[in-house]
Each structure stands twice: as structure tokens, then as C-alpha cells.
């Protein structure tokens, strides 16, 4: 596979691993913010190639994991309405609400369909004018432009039965909250695909204000090891800064067209993050101009109250305070078959990745 094999080259990986071992002297803690990075690190066994001086922490960058239980409860309530078709990315189906999941509602007859793109949801809306088609809009700056485009397209077509239930979030407030909550990290492995949209300037404050390094990383083994090496060098030289490793996808200015669309369709609002609580201006609600596509505004439902299992430490895991192995429920009560917290459900959740790959 062109553009993948080059970044999985065994010799190059070995050379980078050796170089990191040579350069790294200080004990450092780096956080990979993005769930995609967490998966790559485990899937390729990269921790086994790093020296003991480097600790990797998994951050809050798995959209399924940081979504509130209230969001799932409300999605379930929507799915119980007679005239509604729910369209969703697959990961959300098994996330536990208070007393059900979307997967269980589907088994009971709810019309819930897994799609790979909101464009598929639009197609379903066109085919079923008699139904309200709700797309569960979840994800960060990476995914949000595509959902914004679907709303724009629905507006152009005058589709009156397409709605988005948004819990989109933006990355910087969570990354800032992690530092201000006093969690000790020396560097961020910044999310590559978020940065492809936003550009690199959103991370400027971390080195400037907090002396925390920031390297925007790709998702292949060579990308990740090179990014770690860049961070190690920054720390060893006492020179934290923002660097782009993932140059083949990320420009300093980002994707201006996508950002323009994002700003047109969505507005920033305060939002709840699992483990981090309410963060100011961290969520993307649908703007007033496009509110007729906003499920929350247009379709009223009452959802079940939230109840989180008090033993679940997803919150601390998302903040990098604890690892899944420190959770009393991990592997015993909480497994991918019976997930208690969202970190176990998602492919990109830290608990799911530890369960599946950890030696």
C-alpha cells in the first residue's frame, strides 16, 4: 500500500527506536490526545520499542469516550419515536446509556442504521420523506466539517426531514483543562487529523504559556516514533515548541475552506466532557441560521436521567491520571462485551485498546 508501507518500514522503525533510546535522558510523560494514536501505539506494539524514560498517557481524544451519558440517553429516546430513523457511526451503538444501548433498541425494532458518512444519512432522508432522519453528530474538528457539509447540502436541497443531534467538540479546551487541572505532562502528541482542519496555531499556547511541547503527529508507526523523537529533543534541549511531523496532511494554516464551513454551520457552546466536566466553549451547537436541522431544537423528547457506575474510572483515564489496569472493574466486570464505561466500547478508547492489545 503506497503511502502506508513507507511508514511501516521495519528498518526505519528500528532506527528511530534506537535514536530515541540514545537521546532520551530525562524521564518524560507524553500524552497522545487522539484515540487513533492510542490504537496505533498498541496495535503496532510501539511501547515495547521505547526506553523506560518515556511514559505515554492516553488522552481525551476519543469522541465516543468523552460524550456524556445524557447524550446516549437522548439518542435512545429519539430512536423510540415512531417516525424517526437514527443514523449513526457504528461505535456509538454499544455505548451504555442508563438502562439501554442503541444496539439493544435496534434489536427491539428501533430503526437505527450504521452509516460511514453523513452523506449516507442524507440519502436515507431523501428516500424516506415520511420519516425524520436524525444523524448522531459526534467527533472533533476532523469529523465536524463533513457533518456541516451535510447540513449545508440539506439546506440547499430544502430537505425538511434531515436533522443532526450534535455533540461535536473542539480539542483545545480539553487539552488546556488537562494542564490546568495539574496533570503533569511534558509534551502533547497532537491529533493529526484535527490539525489538518484547524492548522497548528491552536497549540501555540502550550509551549508559550505552559512549557509543554506539541508535535502534530501522523498515525503510522514511523510517524509516531518520529514525533516522540521530536518531543524528546525539545525536552532535552529545554525548548518546547509546536512542530508538525505530519507534514503530508497538515499545513500551518489548516484547511481554511473546512473551517469556514464549520464556522458557518456551528457555533461554540459550553459542553460536558466525561471526566472533565463542563468546559467553556468546547462544544459545537448548530447555529441559529440552520436551527431547522437541529434535532435538539426541532424534536422534543424526555430522556432517562443519567447514572454512572461509581466504580468506573473512565474520567481519570481520560485525563491520563490512571491507566485501565488500575481500574477495579477492568477485565473483571467491564469488558468489550459488557462495557461499563465508554472507554471500553470504542475501538479508540484507552480501555478497549488495553484490553485488546496490552501485553
Amino acid at each position: 500500500m503506497k503511502y502506508i508501507n513507507e511508514y511501516r518500514d521495519k528498518k526505519l522503525v528500528y532506527a528511530l527506536s534506537e535514536e530515541i533510546k540514545k537521546v532520551s535522558k530525562k524521564a518524560v510523560r507524553f500524552m497522545e490526545v487522539c484515540g487513533g494514536h492510542t490504537v496505533s501505539i498498541h496495535k503496532f506494539g510501539l511501547k515495547s520499542l521505547l526506553p523506560e524514560t518515556i511514559t505515554l498517557l492516553s488522552g481525551p481524544g476519543c469522541p465516543v469516550c468523552v460524550s456524556s451519558q445524557q447524550y446516549i440517553n437522548k439518542a435512545i429516546a429519539y430512536s423510540r419515536l415512531e417516525d424517526v430513523i437514527i443514523t449513526s457511526f457504528g461505535d456509538l451503538l454499544r455505548v451504555p446509556g442508563t438502562s439501554s444501548t442503541l444496539a439493544k433498541e435496534k434489536a427491539k425494532g428501533g430503526d437505527i442504521r450504521v452509516v460511514y458518512s453523513p452523506i449516507d444519512a442524507l440519502r436515507i432522508a431523501r428516500l424516506h420523506p415520511e420519516k425524520k432522519v436524525i444523524f448522531l453528530g459526534i467527533g472533533f474538528e476532523t469529523t465536524a466539517p463533513c457533518i456541516a457539509a451535510s447540513i449545508k447540502q440539506a439546506s440547499i436541497e430544502g430537505l425538511a426531514n434531515y436533522f443532526v443531534y450534535s455533540t461535536h467538540k473542539v480539542m483545545p479546551p480539553a487539552m488546556t483543562a488537562i494542564i490546568t487541572e495539574g496533570i503533569l505532562i511534558d509534551g502533547y502528541i497532537c491529533p493529526g487529523h484535527v490539525s489538518a482542519i484547524t492548522g497548528s496555531s491552536i497549540y501555540d499556547l502550550y509551549p508559550k504559556k505552559f512549557k509543554v511541547g506539541a508535535v502534530i503527529a501522523g498515525f503510522e508507526p514511523v510517524d509516531l516514533l518520529q514525533s516522540i523523537l521530536m518531543l524528546v529533543k525539545q525536552i532535552e534541549n529545554d525548548n518546547p515548541m509546536v512542530e508538525i511531523q505530519y507534514k503530508r496532511a497538515v499545513k500551518q494554516k489548516g484547511n481554511e475552506k473546512a473551517m469556514q464551513l464549520l464556522n458557518e454551520i456551528f457555533t461554540l457552546r459550553d459542553d460536558v466532557w466525561r471526566g472533565l466536566g463542563v468546559l467553556i466553549k468546547s462544544g459545537l451547537g448548530i447555529s441559529k441560521k440552520y436551527e431547522k436541522f437541529d434535532a435538539e431544537k426541532m424534536i422534543q423528547v424526555t430522556e432517562e436521567p443519567s447514572f454512572e457506575n461509581p466504580g468506573c474510572i473512565c474520567g481519570d483515564i481520560l485525563k491520563g491520571l490512571k491507566t485501565p489496569n488500575e481500574c477495579p472493574l477492568f477485565r473483571k466486570v467491564c469488558t468489550p462485551v459488557n462495557p461499563i464505561g465508554a472507554c471500553m466500547v470504542s475501538n479508540e478508547g484507552a480501555c478497549g485498546a488495553y484490553f485488546k492489545y496490552a501485553v
Binding site: 496495535k43 454499544r94 487529523h193 501485553v359
Partner: protein, 341 residues
Amino acid sequence: MMNNKNDIIIMDHGSGGRLSQELVQNVFVKNFGQNQSGPMTDSALLNISSTKIAMTTDSYVVQPIFFPGGNIGKLAVCGTVNDLSVVGATPLYLSCGFIIEEGLLISDLEQIVKTMADEAKKSGVKIVTGDTKVVERGSCDKLFINTSGIGVLNENCAHIASGSNIKSGDKIIINGPIADHGMAVISIRNGLEVESSLESDCASLNKMIAKTLKYSKDIRFMRDATRGGLATVLCECVEDKPFGIQLYEDSIPRNETVQGVCELLGFDPLYVANEGKVVMIVSTELSGKILEIMKRDPLGKDASIIGEVSASNEGLVVVETEVGGKRLLSMLTGGQLPRIC
């Protein structure tokens, strides 16, 4: 009745009356042939000259019923033939039960039945008895098929199914690239418009397996890597056992297109279904020759040694990843889900 391409199955085809008889004659007997005891007796009567009989059953519900590289009928024959073959048995007879949703095109049914007859002939088994039920629209998805099979267990092969002779140092062999079937089916499923040239690997492995058993009965273990993929076979093999498995990811044969589609959709090929792949565990001394025999067969031309049994890491499958890292391989839990970012 068979002349109109648009004819469909209706409830009356399952009523036991004239339409049922016509369907049996014009579709099933026409393709499968008559049993010696006559087509309409309640049971097939068989002569088997062994007291060690292997028996298996499997139901096939694949959606869509036609996919690149095969259809549900081919799957139903190959799957059951393979289940018999991997325990060291020679498959002989199959039964088939059809549950048909009203509205299915009779021409589609006939095409599927013809494929089954062709595949049975190719693999040297006889379809000797069957049953048809028609259910109302919505009660099944077009067509479900159950096949049961019986075969005779070959001499000195009773250890193969349980893997009771596996020893540390043994080599693990697979007969070709993984994940072809699962990705071929997924790629054409509704709502997943990935255009590609993927083809299912669906095939009866009994003849290739027979060649290896002819050379030596000391094959320590065999399993076909179907649902749950290669990972599941290996994890089940070491569960609660006093040995582990060391797997070398870069030795696992993979079709580049399949790999690409897996990357795109977020599937791990190790967990994706195969329908023509057998995992064998053999001693180091035998491994070279068995590999050579497999490679001479068209179904094993890409066969490869992908790992070995280890005395350490009891009960675990440890993967040396393609980049040289190490990780554990665990049992698939829940279905594989498409990733969202």
C-alpha cells in the same frame, strides 16, 4: 414454470402441494440428482464402511446471498466440507435445508442450487437429502441454508481436532492470504459503497488437506479460520493450554487490496472471516514438506509459516508486529465496528 426469469417463490411453494413438488423436481432433483433410494423417501439410506464417523452442521445466513467469488450455496457446501476435513475426516454426504423468504426469484434459487451441485461434485461429496420451507416476507432474509455433513475419520487422525499432540517448537502454517471473504462481503453490503476487485476465498479444502494427510498423519492440529478470523483460531488453540503462540505478523500472507480496504474501513484483517483458509500446526521437521505440498495445490500456492508454538507465554498469543513491536492478540469481543475518525 422455469421459463420466466421473473418467477418468484410464493407461500404455496412450501405448502407440500403441487407447487412444492414442482419446485423439488425442477430445481433440487434436477441439480442434485436422485438418491438411489428414490427422491421422495423420508431419509437417505447410506453405506458407510467405518465406525468412526465425523458429523457437523452449519447454517448460512450471509447477506447478500450473491457476493464476488461465490454465493450462499457455495458457502454452504464448502463450509461443511471444510469443517469435516479439518478434523481429519474424509467428507462424504451432505444434507441441505432451505428456508426461503417468499418473493425470492426462482432463477436466483436455481443458480444457487446449481452452484451447490457443482461444488459438491468438485469436492467429491454427495448431497443426499434436503428440505424446503417457505416463510412470509420479513421472516427471513431471502434465503437461509443449513447443511449437515458426515464423513469418515481417517486412521490415526483422532488427535487433530483437539490438538492434544501440540508441542512447543511446532510451526504454524496458513494456506494463503487472510480476510478475503469478509472484506468481499462487507465491500458490497448496502450503504458501504467501496468499489474494489475483492473476491471471496470460499473453497472446499478437502482435497488439499487430503494430500497433506497422505504424506503424514502427524499433523498436530487443524482448524478452518472462518468467523472471527485467524486471531480467533489461534486464541482458542492456546486457551488454558500449557503453551503459547508466537506469531510473526509480516509472515502472514495478505492481499494488498484487502489490506487497503481494511485500512480504509478500520477492520483488523486478523479478525476478518475467511472461507477457504486452514490453519495447521505441524512439527518443525514436517513443516517444510507440508508447506511444499500445500504450495503445489492452487488453494495453497501462497501458503506460509506464520509462527510457532512457544513454551513461554502460556495461554497467550504474542504477536511480533510488522514493525518489530510486541503485543498480545486477544479474542474478538463483539463485532468489529467501523471507526469514526
